[in-house]
Protein backbone atom coordinates (compact mmCIF):
# COMPACT_ATOMS: atom_id res chain seq x y z
CA UNK A 1 0.00 0.00 0.00
CA UNK A 2 1.07 3.54 -0.64
CA UNK A 3 3.22 4.76 2.25
CA UNK A 4 2.05 8.34 1.89
CA UNK A 5 -1.54 7.18 2.07
CA UNK A 6 -0.80 5.17 5.22
CA UNK A 7 0.94 8.17 6.73
CA UNK A 8 -2.14 10.27 6.03
CA UNK A 9 -4.33 7.60 7.55
CA UNK A 10 -2.24 7.61 10.72
CA UNK A 11 -2.43 11.40 10.94
CA UNK A 12 -6.17 11.35 10.27
CA UNK A 13 -6.66 8.83 13.04
CA UNK A 14 -4.99 11.31 15.39
CA UNK A 15 -7.02 14.26 14.08
CA UNK A 16 -3.81 15.78 12.78
CA UNK A 17 -4.61 15.84 9.08
CA UNK A 18 -5.74 19.05 7.33
CA UNK A 19 -9.47 19.20 6.64
CA UNK A 20 -9.15 19.12 2.87
CA UNK A 21 -7.08 15.93 3.01
CA UNK A 22 -9.51 14.47 5.54
CA UNK A 23 -12.36 14.89 3.07
CA UNK A 24 -10.54 12.96 0.39
CA UNK A 25 -9.29 10.25 2.70
CA UNK A 26 -12.66 9.83 4.40
CA UNK A 27 -14.16 9.04 1.04
CA UNK A 28 -11.56 6.40 0.36
CA UNK A 29 -11.71 5.04 3.89
CA UNK A 30 -15.43 4.44 3.67
CA UNK A 31 -14.99 2.32 0.55
CA UNK A 32 -11.60 0.63 0.89
CA UNK A 33 -11.88 -2.50 3.03
CA UNK A 34 -8.14 -2.89 3.47
CA UNK A 35 -7.71 0.70 4.56
CA UNK A 36 -10.61 0.33 6.96
CA UNK A 37 -9.07 -2.81 8.48
CA UNK A 38 -5.82 -0.94 9.03
CA UNK A 39 -7.75 1.91 10.62
CA UNK A 40 -9.39 -0.63 12.94
CA UNK A 41 -6.02 -2.10 13.93
CA UNK A 42 -4.77 1.40 14.76
CA UNK A 43 -7.65 1.61 17.22
CA UNK A 44 -6.81 -1.80 18.66
CA UNK A 45 -3.15 -1.02 19.21
CA UNK A 46 -4.08 2.24 20.89
CA UNK A 47 -6.43 0.41 23.25
CA UNK A 48 -3.72 -2.19 23.91
CA UNK A 49 -1.15 0.49 24.77
CA UNK A 50 -3.62 2.12 27.15
CA UNK A 51 -4.24 -1.30 28.68
CA UNK A 52 -7.95 -0.65 28.97
CA UNK A 53 -9.13 -3.27 31.39
CA UNK A 54 -12.37 -5.05 30.72
CA UNK A 55 -12.27 -4.05 27.06
CA UNK A 56 -12.07 -6.97 24.73
CA UNK A 57 -9.69 -6.14 21.96
CA UNK A 58 -10.96 -8.92 19.80
CA UNK A 59 -14.54 -7.74 20.00
CA UNK A 60 -16.50 -7.81 16.81
CA UNK A 61 -18.60 -4.85 17.89
CA UNK A 62 -17.92 -2.88 14.73
CA UNK A 63 -18.99 -5.82 12.58
CA UNK A 64 -22.20 -6.21 14.54
CA UNK A 65 -23.05 -2.54 14.26
CA UNK A 66 -22.30 -2.60 10.55
CA UNK A 67 -24.58 -5.62 10.10
CA UNK A 68 -27.39 -3.88 11.97
CA UNK A 69 -27.02 -0.78 9.86
CA UNK A 70 -27.76 -2.74 6.72
CA UNK A 71 -31.44 -2.65 7.63
CA UNK A 72 -31.28 1.04 8.49
CA UNK A 73 -32.18 3.54 5.79
CA UNK A 74 -29.32 5.65 4.52
CA UNK A 75 -29.30 9.09 6.01
CA UNK A 76 -29.89 12.26 4.06
CA UNK A 77 -28.89 15.76 5.04
CA UNK A 78 -31.40 17.43 7.34
CA UNK A 79 -32.25 20.13 4.85
CA UNK A 80 -33.08 17.61 2.19
CA UNK A 81 -35.01 15.42 4.57
CA UNK A 82 -37.04 18.29 5.92
CA UNK A 83 -37.76 19.97 2.59
CA UNK A 84 -41.55 20.00 2.28
CA UNK A 85 -42.91 18.79 -1.03
CA UNK A 86 -44.78 21.22 -3.28
CA UNK A 87 -48.48 21.09 -2.45
CA UNK A 88 -51.04 21.01 -5.24
CA UNK A 89 -52.61 24.27 -4.12
CA UNK A 90 -49.38 26.27 -4.06
CA UNK A 91 -49.13 26.90 -7.84
CA UNK A 92 -52.89 27.53 -8.01
CA UNK A 93 -52.65 30.11 -5.24
CA UNK A 94 -49.68 31.76 -6.92
CA UNK A 95 -51.50 32.07 -10.24
CA UNK A 96 -54.65 33.37 -8.52
CA UNK A 97 -52.66 35.98 -6.65
CA UNK A 98 -50.93 37.14 -9.83
CA UNK A 99 -54.27 37.35 -11.68
CA UNK A 100 -55.81 39.35 -8.85
CA UNK A 101 -52.96 41.83 -8.84
CA UNK A 102 -53.21 42.19 -12.61
CA UNK A 103 -56.97 42.78 -12.47
CA UNK A 104 -56.60 45.42 -9.78
CA UNK A 105 -53.88 47.12 -11.80
CA UNK A 106 -56.09 47.25 -14.90
CA UNK A 107 -59.03 48.59 -12.89
CA UNK A 108 -56.89 51.28 -11.35
CA UNK A 109 -55.49 52.32 -14.71
CA UNK A 110 -58.99 52.59 -16.17
CA UNK A 111 -60.08 54.84 -13.34
CA UNK A 112 -57.12 57.08 -14.04
CA UNK A 113 -57.75 57.46 -17.78
CA UNK A 114 -59.81 60.48 -19.07
CA UNK A 115 -62.41 58.34 -20.86
CA UNK A 116 -63.19 56.24 -17.86
CA UNK A 117 -66.86 55.71 -16.99
CA UNK A 118 -68.44 58.07 -14.54
CA UNK A 119 -69.06 55.40 -12.05
CA UNK A 120 -65.38 54.73 -11.93
CA UNK A 121 -64.58 58.40 -11.45
CA UNK A 122 -67.37 59.29 -9.08
CA UNK A 123 -64.98 59.60 -6.19
CA UNK A 124 -62.70 62.00 -7.98
CA UNK A 125 -63.07 65.73 -7.25
CA UNK A 126 -65.11 67.67 -9.76
CA UNK A 127 -63.11 69.71 -12.19
CA UNK A 128 -63.26 73.43 -11.76
CA UNK A 129 -64.70 73.86 -15.23
CA UNK A 130 -67.58 71.58 -14.48
CA UNK A 131 -71.13 72.69 -15.20
CA UNK A 132 -73.62 72.37 -12.46
CA UNK A 133 -76.80 70.85 -13.72
CA UNK A 134 -78.29 69.88 -10.49
CA UNK A 135 -80.53 71.84 -8.21
CA UNK A 136 -78.79 72.98 -5.14
CA UNK A 137 -80.83 72.93 -2.08
CA UNK A 138 -80.07 75.10 0.84
CA UNK A 139 -78.80 72.22 2.89
CA UNK A 140 -77.09 69.97 0.40
CA UNK A 141 -74.19 70.55 -1.91
CA UNK A 142 -74.29 69.97 -5.63
CA UNK A 143 -75.56 66.52 -6.17
CA UNK A 144 -74.36 66.03 -9.71
CA UNK A 145 -71.70 67.61 -11.78
CA UNK A 146 -71.12 66.98 -15.45
CA UNK A 147 -67.58 67.60 -16.40
CA UNK A 148 -66.78 69.28 -19.59
CA UNK A 149 -65.41 67.32 -22.44
CA UNK A 150 -61.75 66.72 -22.10
CA UNK A 151 -59.84 69.76 -23.07
CA UNK A 152 -57.75 69.94 -26.17
CA UNK A 153 -54.32 68.38 -26.01
CA UNK A 154 -52.39 70.15 -23.33
CA UNK A 155 -49.96 72.73 -24.50
CA UNK A 156 -46.45 71.76 -23.88
CA UNK A 157 -44.69 74.70 -22.40
CA UNK A 158 -40.96 74.27 -22.09
CA UNK A 159 -39.43 75.34 -18.88
CA UNK A 160 -37.93 78.80 -18.74
CA UNK A 161 -34.48 77.42 -18.21
CA UNK A 162 -34.68 75.17 -21.25
CA UNK A 163 -36.17 77.96 -23.35
CA UNK A 164 -33.42 80.36 -22.33
CA UNK A 165 -30.80 77.80 -23.20
CA UNK A 166 -32.29 77.06 -26.60
CA UNK A 167 -32.58 80.77 -27.44
CA UNK A 168 -29.06 81.49 -26.39
CA UNK A 169 -27.82 78.50 -28.30
CA UNK A 170 -29.65 79.63 -31.43
CA UNK A 171 -28.13 83.09 -31.22
CA UNK A 172 -24.56 81.84 -31.08
CA UNK A 173 -24.86 78.77 -33.27
CA UNK A 174 -24.16 78.73 -36.97
CA UNK A 175 -26.77 79.51 -39.57
CA UNK A 176 -27.31 75.88 -40.44
CA UNK A 177 -27.67 74.80 -36.87
CA UNK A 178 -30.02 77.67 -36.20
CA UNK A 179 -32.52 76.13 -38.57
CA UNK A 180 -32.98 72.98 -36.71
CA UNK A 181 -36.52 72.30 -35.85
CA UNK A 182 -36.53 73.17 -32.21
CA UNK A 183 -34.50 76.33 -32.50
CA UNK A 184 -36.62 77.56 -35.35
CA UNK A 185 -39.74 76.86 -33.41
CA UNK A 186 -38.51 78.65 -30.34
CA UNK A 187 -37.10 81.68 -32.09
CA UNK A 188 -39.92 82.11 -34.56
CA UNK A 189 -42.62 81.76 -31.94
CA UNK A 190 -43.95 85.26 -31.55
CA UNK A 191 -44.56 86.31 -28.05
CA UNK A 192 -42.57 83.49 -26.56
CA UNK A 193 -41.50 84.69 -23.22
CA UNK A 194 -38.37 82.68 -23.26
CA UNK A 195 -37.30 84.07 -26.54
CA UNK A 196 -37.87 87.66 -25.43
CA UNK A 197 -36.40 87.61 -21.98
CA UNK A 198 -32.81 88.09 -21.05
CA UNK A 199 -31.08 86.69 -24.09
CA UNK A 200 -27.97 88.66 -23.36
CA UNK A 201 -27.52 87.60 -19.81
CA UNK A 202 -27.82 83.89 -20.70
CA UNK A 203 -25.52 84.43 -23.61
CA UNK A 204 -22.95 85.86 -21.27
CA UNK A 205 -23.22 82.88 -19.05
CA UNK A 206 -22.83 80.45 -21.92
CA UNK A 207 -19.96 82.44 -23.38
CA UNK A 208 -18.15 82.10 -20.08
Amino acid sequence: MNEELDSQLSAMFDDELPSAECELLARRLSRDGELKARWGRYAVLGAAIRAERGVRLNAALAGRVSALLITEPALATPTVARASPVRWWQPVAAVSLAAGVAALSILWLRTQSPGAPLSARADRPAPSQGVNTGVRSSSSPYIYTVPQAPAARPVVVPSTELANYVVAHSMFSSQVERHNLLSAFMTSEPGTAAGAEEPESDAKIIAH
Partner: protein, 202 residues
Amino acid sequence: MSADASDLSLVRRVQRGDKGAFDALVLKYQHKLVKLVMRYVRNPAEAEDIAQEAFIKAYRALPQFRGDSAFYTWLYRIAINTAKNALVSRDRSPIDYDLDRHQGDESYDMQSRMKDSETPEGLVLTDEIRSTVNAAIDALPEDLRTAIVLRELEGLSYEEIAGAMDCPVGTVRSRIFRAREAIDQRLREVFEGGLGRAEEIG
Protein backbone atom coordinates in the same frame (compact mmCIF):
# COMPACT_ATOMS: atom_id res chain seq x y z
CA MET B 1 -6.12 22.24 10.62
CA SER B 2 -9.16 22.04 12.84
CA ALA B 3 -9.66 19.72 15.75
CA ASP B 4 -12.10 16.95 15.03
CA ALA B 5 -11.75 17.49 11.28
CA SER B 6 -11.23 13.79 10.83
CA ASP B 7 -14.43 12.80 12.59
CA LEU B 8 -16.34 15.64 11.00
CA SER B 9 -15.39 14.59 7.50
CA LEU B 10 -16.61 11.07 8.25
CA VAL B 11 -19.77 12.38 9.91
CA ARG B 12 -20.58 14.52 6.89
CA ARG B 13 -20.24 11.50 4.65
CA VAL B 14 -22.62 9.51 6.83
CA GLN B 15 -25.08 12.39 6.76
CA ARG B 16 -24.96 12.25 2.98
CA GLY B 17 -25.88 8.59 3.07
CA ASP B 18 -22.48 6.87 3.19
CA LYS B 19 -22.86 4.09 5.76
CA GLY B 20 -19.28 2.94 5.22
CA ALA B 21 -18.01 6.12 6.84
CA PHE B 22 -19.92 5.23 9.99
CA ASP B 23 -18.03 1.92 10.15
CA ALA B 24 -14.82 3.93 10.45
CA LEU B 25 -16.24 5.93 13.34
CA VAL B 26 -17.33 2.74 15.11
CA LEU B 27 -13.92 1.15 14.61
CA LYS B 28 -12.21 4.19 16.02
CA TYR B 29 -14.37 4.60 19.11
CA GLN B 30 -15.66 1.13 19.99
CA HIS B 31 -13.01 0.46 22.65
CA LYS B 32 -13.33 3.87 24.25
CA LEU B 33 -17.09 3.56 24.33
CA VAL B 34 -17.02 0.09 25.89
CA LYS B 35 -14.56 1.34 28.48
CA LEU B 36 -16.92 4.22 29.26
CA VAL B 37 -19.95 1.96 29.60
CA MET B 38 -17.95 -0.37 31.83
CA ARG B 39 -18.27 2.30 34.49
CA TYR B 40 -21.98 1.52 34.63
CA VAL B 41 -22.12 -2.21 33.95
CA ARG B 42 -19.46 -4.65 34.97
CA ASN B 43 -20.11 -7.30 32.43
CA PRO B 44 -18.00 -6.69 29.27
CA ALA B 45 -20.54 -8.45 27.08
CA GLU B 46 -23.32 -6.28 28.44
CA ALA B 47 -21.15 -3.21 28.01
CA GLU B 48 -20.65 -4.13 24.38
CA ASP B 49 -24.39 -4.55 23.91
CA ILE B 50 -25.00 -1.10 25.36
CA ALA B 51 -22.22 0.39 23.25
CA GLN B 52 -23.76 -1.24 20.21
CA GLU B 53 -27.14 0.27 21.06
CA ALA B 54 -25.49 3.65 21.57
CA PHE B 55 -23.87 3.45 18.14
CA ILE B 56 -27.20 2.65 16.51
CA LYS B 57 -28.87 5.52 18.35
CA ALA B 58 -26.07 7.82 17.28
CA TYR B 59 -26.47 6.76 13.67
CA ARG B 60 -30.18 7.50 13.75
CA ALA B 61 -29.62 10.86 15.44
CA LEU B 62 -26.76 11.87 13.17
CA PRO B 63 -28.93 14.09 10.93
CA GLN B 64 -29.40 16.33 13.97
CA PHE B 65 -25.65 16.51 14.69
CA ARG B 66 -24.43 19.91 13.53
CA GLY B 67 -20.85 19.78 14.69
CA ASP B 68 -21.26 22.29 17.51
CA SER B 69 -19.38 19.88 19.76
CA ALA B 70 -16.85 17.18 18.99
CA PHE B 71 -18.37 14.00 17.63
CA TYR B 72 -16.93 11.91 20.43
CA THR B 73 -18.38 14.23 23.08
CA TRP B 74 -21.77 13.86 21.47
CA LEU B 75 -21.37 10.08 21.19
CA TYR B 76 -20.16 9.96 24.80
CA ARG B 77 -23.41 11.56 26.01
CA ILE B 78 -25.52 9.14 24.01
CA ALA B 79 -23.61 6.19 25.47
CA ILE B 80 -24.01 7.43 29.03
CA ASN B 81 -27.74 7.95 28.58
CA THR B 82 -28.09 4.55 26.97
CA ALA B 83 -26.23 2.92 29.85
CA LYS B 84 -28.37 4.71 32.45
CA ASN B 85 -31.56 3.79 30.64
CA ALA B 86 -30.43 0.18 30.44
CA LEU B 87 -29.87 0.14 34.17
CA VAL B 88 -33.24 1.70 34.89
CA SER B 89 -35.05 -0.67 32.59
CA ARG B 90 -33.44 -3.58 34.38
CA ASP B 91 -34.33 -2.05 37.70
CA ARG B 92 -30.80 -1.91 38.91
CA SER B 93 -28.65 0.78 40.30
CA PRO B 94 -25.30 1.64 38.78
CA ILE B 95 -22.40 -0.31 40.10
CA ASP B 96 -19.76 1.82 41.65
CA TYR B 97 -17.02 0.36 39.59
CA ASP B 98 -13.84 2.32 39.42
CA LEU B 99 -11.66 0.99 36.67
CA ASP B 100 -8.63 2.64 38.13
CA ARG B 101 -9.06 0.53 41.23
CA HIS B 102 -7.67 -2.42 39.30
CA GLN B 103 -4.66 -0.66 37.87
CA GLY B 104 -1.75 -2.79 38.93
CA ASP B 105 -3.98 -4.95 41.09
CA GLU B 106 -2.58 -8.45 41.04
CA SER B 107 -5.80 -9.85 42.45
CA TYR B 108 -7.55 -8.92 39.23
CA ASP B 109 -6.57 -12.25 37.81
CA MET B 110 -7.97 -14.62 35.27
CA GLN B 111 -10.47 -16.09 37.72
CA SER B 112 -12.07 -12.74 38.59
CA ARG B 113 -12.22 -11.78 34.94
CA MET B 114 -13.97 -15.06 34.17
CA LYS B 115 -16.80 -13.86 36.37
CA ASP B 116 -17.31 -11.01 33.93
CA SER B 117 -18.76 -13.44 31.42
CA GLU B 118 -15.63 -13.29 29.35
CA THR B 119 -14.99 -16.38 27.29
CA PRO B 120 -11.62 -18.09 27.69
CA GLU B 121 -10.94 -17.68 23.99
CA GLY B 122 -11.69 -13.98 24.17
CA LEU B 123 -9.42 -13.55 27.16
CA VAL B 124 -6.60 -15.42 25.53
CA LEU B 125 -6.89 -13.43 22.33
CA THR B 126 -7.06 -10.12 24.15
CA ASP B 127 -3.99 -11.09 26.16
CA GLU B 128 -2.25 -12.18 22.98
CA ILE B 129 -2.96 -8.84 21.36
CA ARG B 130 -1.71 -6.92 24.36
CA SER B 131 1.48 -8.91 24.68
CA THR B 132 2.10 -8.59 20.95
CA VAL B 133 1.66 -4.83 21.04
CA ASN B 134 3.87 -4.49 24.11
CA ALA B 135 6.57 -6.62 22.52
CA ALA B 136 6.38 -4.57 19.35
CA ILE B 137 6.70 -1.34 21.30
CA ASP B 138 9.70 -2.66 23.21
CA ALA B 139 11.35 -3.49 19.92
CA LEU B 140 10.89 0.01 18.56
CA PRO B 141 13.72 2.52 18.36
CA GLU B 142 13.65 4.99 21.22
CA ASP B 143 12.35 7.96 19.21
CA LEU B 144 9.49 5.95 17.69
CA ARG B 145 8.55 4.42 21.03
CA THR B 146 8.50 7.77 22.77
CA ALA B 147 6.39 9.34 20.04
CA ILE B 148 3.73 6.60 20.00
CA VAL B 149 3.54 6.36 23.79
CA LEU B 150 3.16 10.12 24.18
CA ARG B 151 0.41 10.02 21.62
CA GLU B 152 -1.56 6.94 22.67
CA LEU B 153 -0.92 6.85 26.39
CA GLU B 154 -0.65 10.53 27.22
CA GLY B 155 -2.94 11.79 24.48
CA LEU B 156 -0.61 14.61 23.43
CA SER B 157 -1.06 16.41 20.14
CA TYR B 158 1.64 16.31 17.48
CA GLU B 159 2.61 19.85 18.35
CA GLU B 160 2.98 19.00 22.02
CA ILE B 161 5.02 15.92 21.18
CA ALA B 162 7.22 18.00 18.87
CA GLY B 163 7.84 20.36 21.78
CA ALA B 164 8.62 17.50 24.13
CA MET B 165 10.95 15.76 21.69
CA ASP B 166 12.42 18.96 20.27
CA CYS B 167 11.74 18.10 16.66
CA PRO B 168 9.44 19.35 13.87
CA VAL B 169 5.80 18.33 13.76
CA GLY B 170 6.40 16.56 10.46
CA THR B 171 8.97 14.36 12.13
CA VAL B 172 6.51 13.49 14.87
CA ARG B 173 3.92 12.53 12.28
CA SER B 174 6.47 10.32 10.53
CA ARG B 175 7.63 8.69 13.76
CA ILE B 176 4.12 7.89 14.90
CA PHE B 177 3.25 6.47 11.53
CA ARG B 178 6.38 4.29 11.44
CA ALA B 179 5.72 3.08 14.97
CA ARG B 180 2.17 2.15 14.06
CA GLU B 181 3.32 0.36 10.96
CA ALA B 182 5.79 -1.69 12.95
CA ILE B 183 3.19 -2.64 15.57
CA ASP B 184 0.53 -3.25 12.94
CA GLN B 185 2.85 -5.68 11.17
CA ARG B 186 2.85 -7.83 14.30
CA LEU B 187 -0.84 -7.35 14.95
CA ARG B 188 -1.81 -8.60 11.53
CA GLU B 189 -0.08 -11.88 12.28
CA VAL B 190 -2.28 -12.26 15.34
CA PHE B 191 -5.50 -11.37 13.62
CA GLU B 192 -4.86 -13.22 10.39
CA GLY B 193 -3.83 -16.52 11.83
CA GLY B 194 -1.86 -16.23 15.00
CA LEU B 195 -4.55 -18.06 16.92
CA GLY B 196 -6.37 -19.41 13.91
CA ARG B 197 -9.69 -18.01 15.03
CA ALA B 198 -9.22 -14.30 15.24
CA GLU B 199 -12.45 -12.44 14.82
CA GLU B 200 -12.90 -9.86 12.22
CA ILE B 201 -12.24 -6.43 13.57
CA GLY B 202 -13.69 -4.47 10.73
